[in-house]
């Protein structure tokens, strides 16, 4: 057992995954992760090409090209850095490249803020990346390793998200697996792309709206069909994610065969939904409420993309009230997780009320008792109306 912060855990996982090309640009609070990786490379502990790129956009461009050549690639960023590479995130997913990115969740400006919230990765949810959130540093280490397993099976890039400072800079006990076991779990990358002058192929040329016949006489995809395949890959990745989680358990003894963490939910009529470190805090809140006789359970969302609709429906089938805490907001609407939950429940037999609270933006501390108070407030609001409010409530001091 080691005492590691989140960035160290991610760095160790990337090293053990035998990544071959790393391109990263430092940004708070990801910087120590980047520095740790360059240390591993310069010391010879990790045989990889470390590219000290001049921007995050270039970081992802280096990763996409290195990945097309056939190398296992890794990058990490936060906040504005993730936003800067937005265009390239779309590109990497559309090009079907199994890149793994660690997003150290940080608030995005204006105004400037270096502390934690999840607006950065949530803003990228439409790009076609698989997105997985971690509750603690053990999950960070384990998820980065699983990310390569998943990405390279379905050829979809994977974003591993963890809260800046709360996890990245906080030390906790983490078990580091044996390299020989990681090697067993992660076979070498088998690219689906060929860059060989003896057999020339061009990647990501302009496409037409309609399908077009190729050189071999077969009808090839139009843009829409290629994009359909990406959606299909994400839809089907659920099976791969669960399988990767199960096999992780077989080798390392920690079970990840689930799209979310369900705690105290078996007899609960009220379920709190949260993501990242907040999901751990929510368990404390649930326990506080249970001491007052309120049966509350927690659904700690792990995989945000693809959104596990049927699993969520199954978990929430007994809930009459769902309280969703979002460390993000889609301005003009509501928290992203809340929208996803509502979308999952629509048209099912579940007749729960849903209440959305925006919490923790810009590093605002979220205490378990605040989550508990908010849940009680949500419970009382059921007396006024059971319909879902248009807009979320905020836990702040305005």
């Amino acid at each position: 057992m080691h005492i590691l912060d989140g960035n160290q855990a991610a760095a160790i996982a990337a090293k053990m995954s035998r990544v071959q090309v790393i391109a990263a640009y430092p940004i708070t609070p990801q910087t120590p992760l980047t520095e740790q990786l360059s240390q591993y490379v310069e010391e010879g502990q990790l045989k990889a090409e470390y590219v000290a790129v001049e921007s995050e956009h270039s970081a992802m461009a280096v990763c996409t090209s290195a990945s097309i050549v056939g190398a296992r690639t890794f990058t990490a960023t936060s906040s504005h850095g993730l936003a800067y590479m937005h265009e390239m995130l779309h590109w990497a997913a559309g090009a079907r490249l199994p890149i793994v990115l660690a997003c150290v969740n940080r608030a995005i400006g204006a105004p400037w803020n270096v502390l934690n919230d999840q607006q950065d990765s949530i803003s990228q949810r439409d790009t076609g990346w698989i997105q997985i959130y971690c509750r603690n540093n053990q999950e960070i280490l384990d998820t980065v390793i699983q990310a390569y397993r998943i990405a390279e099976s379905v050829y979809v890039p994977v974003m591993v998200c963890y809260d800046g400072y709360i996890l990245s800079h906080t030390e906790m006990p983490v078990d580091i697996p044996e390299q020989v076991d990681v090697d067993r779990y992660l076979p070498p990358y088998q690219p689906h792309t060929t860059l060989d002058p003896a057999n020339p192929k061009n990647y990501n040329l302009v496409t037409l709206a309609n399908p077009r016949v190729g050189v071999d006489g077969k009808l090839c995809h139009g843009y829409m069909e290629l994009r359909y395949l990406l959606q299909e890959a994400l839809q089907n990745s659920r099976e791969t994610i669960l399988q990767a989680g199960k096999e992780f358990n077989d080798i390392f003894g920690r079970d990840y065969a689930s799209m979310f963490w369900e705690e105290r939910n078996e007899d609960a009529e009220i379920t709190i939904v949260a993501m990242g470190s907040l999901a751990s805090e929510a368990i404390v809140a649930a326990d506080m409420l249970r001491e007052e006789g309120i049966k509350v359970g927690v659904l700690g969302l792990r995989v945000f993309r693809p959104f596990p609709k049927q699993d969520v429906v199954q978990a929430l089938r007994k809930s009459r009230l769902i309280v969703v805490f979002d460390k993000n907001i889609s301005y003009g609407s509501e928290g992203a997780t809340c929208s996803e939950i509502k979308s999952a429940l629509y048209g099912t037999y579940i007749n729960a009320a849903i209440r959305n609270f925006i919490v923790g933006l810009g590093g605002r501390d979220v205490k378990a008792r605040e989550l508990a108070e908010a849940t009680k407030k949500a419970i009382s609001s059921l007396k006024e109306t059971v319909t879902n409010p248009d807009y979320p409530e905020w836990i702040c001091q305005i």
Binding site: V53, E54, I68, V69, M88, L195, P200, N204
Partner: protein
């Protein structure tokens, strides 16, 4: 033995029936670039006329492996190819970045500068048609003073061209050179030489554009030659800091160095329809001063 039209490698890597305009200088330049590399390359191409040359999925008009990349990222994409090849232990392949002036001087300058500063081992070729020609001619940092474009439609461009080769020279690269599509043998020799040099190599190719510059497409070679004869384009190479004039610029210098006046160059292209007499005079003086500098710098005269 120096290359000529008789002994130059006959094999082609550009396939006929591609989407470039008739008389496209970029196509000619690319054809000879790939001959110099004998197709032993992996190319990365940003959004540009070259993208169109490469074709539309699922068919490509080019017989070399290629990775298309977003507009701003050519230098980074080339870096990624080099890093990936190195990590996989694959040798003997030139990584070629092939970008237009937009993707080099403007939106792509950051990633190119970053890659050059890191001294990654690839060849960067900028084919310069002096505007964002792929999208119908909007002004770029390389559009000359006085040229009309989609975004300088009435007054013509009010600024001078950005000297990208000088900027790349300032990165301390082992090899920078200027070429013209109208002098394909000079281009061929430079690419061949650059192929043997390790580190980031930068080659700038002047590629006249018939629809963008507004002249008949049979005159592409003529305007490229005129640009060199007037000194608007100087053909040179800088190898390890040593400056040499080459090809027609070298011959011109050896014969006394008298440049043709720039006036006819501007008067014969539709894009200069609003250029003023003052601008022509200014440009003539600028060309003369720059030529003098080149003559002074040249170590091979």
């Amino acid at each position: 033995m120096k290359a000529n039209a008789v002994n130059l490698i006959e094999k082609e890597w550009i396939l006929p029936g591609n989407r470039t305009c008739p008389g496209c200088a970029l196509s000619l330049a690319y054809r000879h670039t790939l001959k110099a590399l004998e197709g032993q390359c992996i190319v990365t191409v940003p959004a540009s006329c070259a993208t169109v040359l490469h074709g539309m999925y699922p068919i490509t008009a080019v017989n070399v492996p290629c990775v298309n990349t977003p507009f701003a990222s050519t230098g980074a994409s080339a870096t990624g190819l080099v890093a990936g090849l190195k990590a996989l232990g694959r040798k003997g392949i030139t990584v070629l970045a092939f970008a237009g002036d937009g993707g080099t001087h403007d939106i792509g300058i950051q990633s190119l500068s970053g890659a050059a500063e890191r001294q990654y081992d690839f060849m960067y070729i900028c084919y310069d048609n002096e505007g964002y020609m792929n999208t119908g001619n909007q002004r770029s940092g390389s559009t000359p003073l006085g040229a009309v474009s989609g975004t300088t439609p009435v007054l013509g461009k009010q600024q001078y061209q950005k000297d990208m080769t000088a900027i790349m020279e300032a990165h301390g690269l082992p090899y920078v050179a200027t070429c013209s599509a109208s002098y394909p043998l000079d281009l061929y020799e430079k690419v061949k030489k650059a192929k043997t040099i390790e580190g980031t190599r930068f080659i700038h190719i002047h590629t006249p554009c018939p629809p963008g510059w507004i002249f008949p497409f049979s005159d592409t070679i003529k305007f490229g030659e005129m640009a060199v004869e007037t000194g608007l384009v100087v053909l040179y190479e800088i190898e390890d800091g040593i400056f040499r004039l080459t090809s027609a610029s070298e011959s011109l210098a050896r014969k006394g160095g008298t440049l043709q006046p720039v006036r006819e160059y501007f008067k014969s292209q539709g894009r200069f329809k609003t250029i003023t007499e003052e601008q022509i005079d200014e440009l003539q003086q600028w060309v003369n001063a720059r030529w003098k500098q080149c003559l002074n710098r040249a170590t091979n005269l």
